[in-house]
Symmetry: C2
């Protein structure tokens, strides 16, 4: 079967997969204070005007702007002080023509007032009067009712990943609970007779499981909940049993395939048995990452990822990440990127998208992308990389000095800005 | 006191603060599998060569390269097959001159072999011999011992924030536990007679606490653990008592100051009582964010942040975030940025750094930064923003069409790339 597979371009592969994958977003009620990074799963309208009263933006006197027109230091407006508005309370009194009320920043304007004169442009005149040296326009020194957000206005759209300020924005409206997308459960199965758990001492010829945990961390970062099902030897019935269990318990299943052809064939056969239509794509025209399986089995997304760590990460980003975003009903997380110049010539074949791992160096105020030397089967190729850029399908390569868009890996890398 | 304060530039303010702030990084042992996003607090050297045996990178025959020199389809090299190397095991036999061993991708080369010929360039010849149609060079088809990382080599440096691939890299070496920086505890106190908890119904003149939770989320995102101490009215002894408790229990304390002058004065006085040297900076030349207090009290960092939500976030990024990074011993997290053109003219005063909240729009393949209209005292100014850019101290403004570096807010925004 491996010999027969038709390699698809990344976009064609995704289109074939997406046509069969139509996940339902599941929602749960969570506290807004615990919603950082979660995906909103319901439309939200503002239940109120914010603010719901006219607020002073300065310390000073609430006035009718009309009463200050023409005021100058030489000819101040003379206003009677009707009282002071305590913070956090309604005024309890209105001001009439020729009157003012002492207010503090954030305080409520009394009825009759439509502006606030800053205290710096006034002078007390006796016990209960004030001189105003500068005119104010209507609305000056005031946040209007609904100026922050109006009652009934859309607050945030479903699919939005909540940031720190969004939590503040929701709580400002008294929205203390929201419907958030349930974290999709991502089942990860590793295969390979040579692969052992990381805590186990190595015998000659053995290697430790790297991909399970890297993929689990990537799934977590993307908003999923990862479950590692362990490492399975070259025994089809054992793998098939574990695959069935993972498929039942999880929303999405990822096989970290053994690197030999026999493993890839076995993985494809096991996936095909999980449900219809089964494996949709055998092989994608990317480097690294060609030996990739995309499948939908009775509605659930199943992926066979290459065994090479670098390939596995490239394919995760290309296909598993958008599938997870679909399960979350989320806008696909936009990566952080930086424009950089490539430090040396890199050849590429047309008909294939190349992913180049890079470090970033600043030279004379510009960012340069320095390709990380190291094969795609070495985990430290990834550890030493700060990001990755693509050489497109129709390109024969990149010349040193050309500008590329580097997608940065989480946590590090990228130019200092904020 | 407020009238007397000397406003500092952001860099001068940080220098004054940093001279007094010398935190100790505390470390704890954690499982590597749970270390995503944590900061490494110890130097790590590789305990082994990785791989620690010569691995085949293809399915084929392990050979001595010398034995294949000159081989062609017309005149193949004829080699005796000494055996098959099982996956995950040592060969158990060596190959001699004129011999080959069947190996699988990821398998161990037997002694005597220094290259692997791909199975596609061979043909079985009887039961225990093979014809090789192409020569291989020494090392071809092989990952050398230590090619991924060498024994004793530095794995990752202290201060590194662990990404998905770093977890894989550590586990590949059997490093299942690491020393990670303890999450600094960030105490947050809110002040204001008008401020009430988000779940409480509002009476006229009251507003809900927004900043405590926004700041808590920002602290969490930066790797801290946030503790909200509540909302304190305009009563100095009550605030002083809560401040003392927060200062004792936390590694860093943030006051979300009431917006009126009297609150700022009270906060400054309360901070000064916590320890020496106390308040170091009263006011920073940024817009928004001027009324800011930076303090060190007996070794602990204490900040008085402006009450306006936008100002509070700007000041958090400028000062609290780097202080948190110092507590973690971490490289300051680099933000994701995007180059964009400013959509309209923006005036600025020299002697002040302006922070402009923006949305991003793509126009003709370029990113444009569209300033968010809305005052700094409105939380939805931040909710509607995808990022922020700076207008420098010595600039009188930005012309429409000029390029700026926009620092993106987490979770959303920025150009699709990866």
């Amino acid at each position: 079967m491996t010999e027969l597979f038709t390699v698809q371009t990344p976009s064609a592969a995704w289109a074939i997969f997406a046509e069969q994958f139509h996940p339902q977003v599941r929602s749960e009620r969570i506290a807004t204070t615990a919603a950082l990074g979660r995906v909103l799963a319901e439309p939200l309208q503002s239940p109120q005007d914010l603010p719901d009263f006219k607020r002073a933006t300065v310390d000073g006197y609430a006035v009718a702007a009309l009463d200050t027109y023409g005021a100058t230091p030489g000819l101040p407006a003379f206003l009677k002080v009707a009282g002071e508005v305590p913070m956090g309370e309604a005024a309890g009194f209105a001001i009439g023509p020729g009157e003012a009320a002492l207010v503090h920043t954030g305080g409520m304007l009394p009825p009759g007032a439509d502006a606030v004169v800053m205290i710096e442009t006034t002078q007390q005149a006796g016990i209960s009067a004030v001189e105003v040296f500068q005119p104010v326009a209507e609305g000056q020194g005031v946040v209007q009712i609904g100026e922050d957000i109006r009652r009934g206005e859309a607050v945030l759209a479903p699919g939005h990943r909540l940031r720190a300020q969004d939590i503040g924005g929701l709580l400002a409206l008294g929205i203390t609970e929201i419907g958030a997308a349930v974290a999709p459960v991502v089942g990860i199965l590793s295969t390979g007779d040579e692969v052992v758990p990381p805590h186990q001492p190595l015998r000659p010829g053995q290697v430790r499981d790297v991909n399970s945990y890297t993929l689990a961390a990537l799934a977590t970062e993307a908003g999923g909940r990862a479950v590692c099902y362990g490492i399975f030897p070259d025994h089809r019935e054992t793998l098939a049993r574990a695959a069935r269990r993972a498929w039942q318990e999880c929303d999405l299943v990822v096989f970290s395939a053994g690197s030999s052809v026999s493993y890839r064939d076995m993985t494809a056969a096991v996936i095909d048995e999980l449900g219809k239509p089964g494996v949709l794509v055998h092989g994608v025209s990317v480097k690294p990452g060609k030996p990739t399986l995309l499948a939908v089995c009775d509605g659930k997304a199943v992926f066979g990822l290459p065994g090479n760590p670098v390939s596995a990460m490239v394919i995760f980003d290309l296909f598993v990440l958008p599938a997870l975003s679909a399960l979350l009903g989320a806008d696909r997380p936009r990566p952080s990127t930086v424009q950089a110049r490539v430090a040396r010539n890199i050849a590429s074949d047309t008909g294939r998208v190349d992913f180049v791992q890079v470090r970033l160096e600043q030279r004379a105020g510009e960012w340069w992308a320095v390709p990380v030397l190291g094969r795609s089967n070495l985990i430290y190729t990834l550890v030493n990389a700060e990001g990755v850029f693509q050489i497109s399908l129709d390109s024969t390569g990149i010349q040193a000095g050309e500008w590329v868009t580097v997608a940065l890996y989480g946590g590090r890398g990228g130019p200092p800005g904020r």
